[in-house]
């Protein structure tokens, strides 16, 4: 089963349960005042998911390690490498 099919199956399952409740095919005795929330549920979920995603990406961008130390070390090693290679007869130009 491809990842696309897994997604379609999961979304399809959720939407059919939701629809069944909205169309009163499954009766949960939800009071009318709460029905509005129920009707907008898929949209709410989408919005929450989008916010969650943005927050997570933002957090990960902010906490992305800047490897300053590693870069400095590498620069030193490059100097060492150039020196030793030249000694071994390597011609840089």
């Amino acid at each position: 089963m491809t990842k696309l099919m897994q997604w379609l199956a999961a979304v399809g399952l959720f939407m059919s349960i939701w629809l069944a409740i909205v169309l009163d095919m499954i009766s949960l005795n939800i009071p009318d005042s709460k029905k509005e929330i129920l009707h907008a549920l898929p949209v709410y979920i989408l919005i929450v998911f989008a916010c969650y995603s943005l927050a997570l990406i933002g957090y990960r961008v902010a906490t992305f390690n800047d490897c300053v130390e590693e870069s400095r070390e590498l620069k030193e090693e490059i100097q060492e490498a150039k020196k030793e290679l030249t000694e071994k007869g390597y011609k840089f130009d």
């Binding site: 990842k3 590498l74 090693e77 490059i78 007869g89």
Partner: protein, 240 residues
Amino acid sequence: MEANRKYSVLLPTYNEKENLPLIVWLLVKVFTDSGLDFEIIVIDDGSPDGTLEAGKQLEKIYGKDKIVLRPRKEKLGLGTAYVHGMKHATGDFIIIMDADLSHHPKYIPEFIKKQQEGDCDIVTGTRYVGSGGVYGWDFKRKFVSRTANYIAQVLLRPGVSDLTGSFRLYKKAVLEKLVESCVSKGYVFQMEMMIRARHFGYTIDEVPIAFVDRMYGESKLAGKEIVDYLKGLLYLFANL
């Protein structure tokens, strides 16, 4: 560490004249210090800057058994460069890395240790967890990278934190099988390798790495690459 195992490093190069001697020096140092048997296979695609000549000098210094030059006449791309290099590899394990000093050889002993701990089939470097990270990236590049990775994680749930990284250690037979079954190019190729590896049931472990952006040579992060990435992602999403 066990002495009877041999590691083949595949270094694809295109216009890496400045970087090649430096990466080779670092590699030789790491392998010698840890007493490991190794060879470095350089696959140069007819670089106009004279990378091959640099390789020939290194071959003289370190010997033909350590520096194995396997050039091709023209620029044929990374995927086929790995296939080409692998054909000449005599090691039990293959290490793939970039030649532009973005991938530091000092992590190789950690890769090997991780591999031996769980006898896993693949060890991949990751910029995204633990002490991993990047140097030389501005906000935009970090954002694009994190977003691209997040989308891939949500859609594909691969169980590997860095899908597009190209610093990895493979058992030779595993890499052969994977390369043979992967069809994508570029970043997507690296991603497909991981997803297919999961499908085949291969075990994958990770080592955090610091990715230092290239200091020498041309860099390219074009809009086209982002589009290609998304297309490739959708292809994998629909087909795997």
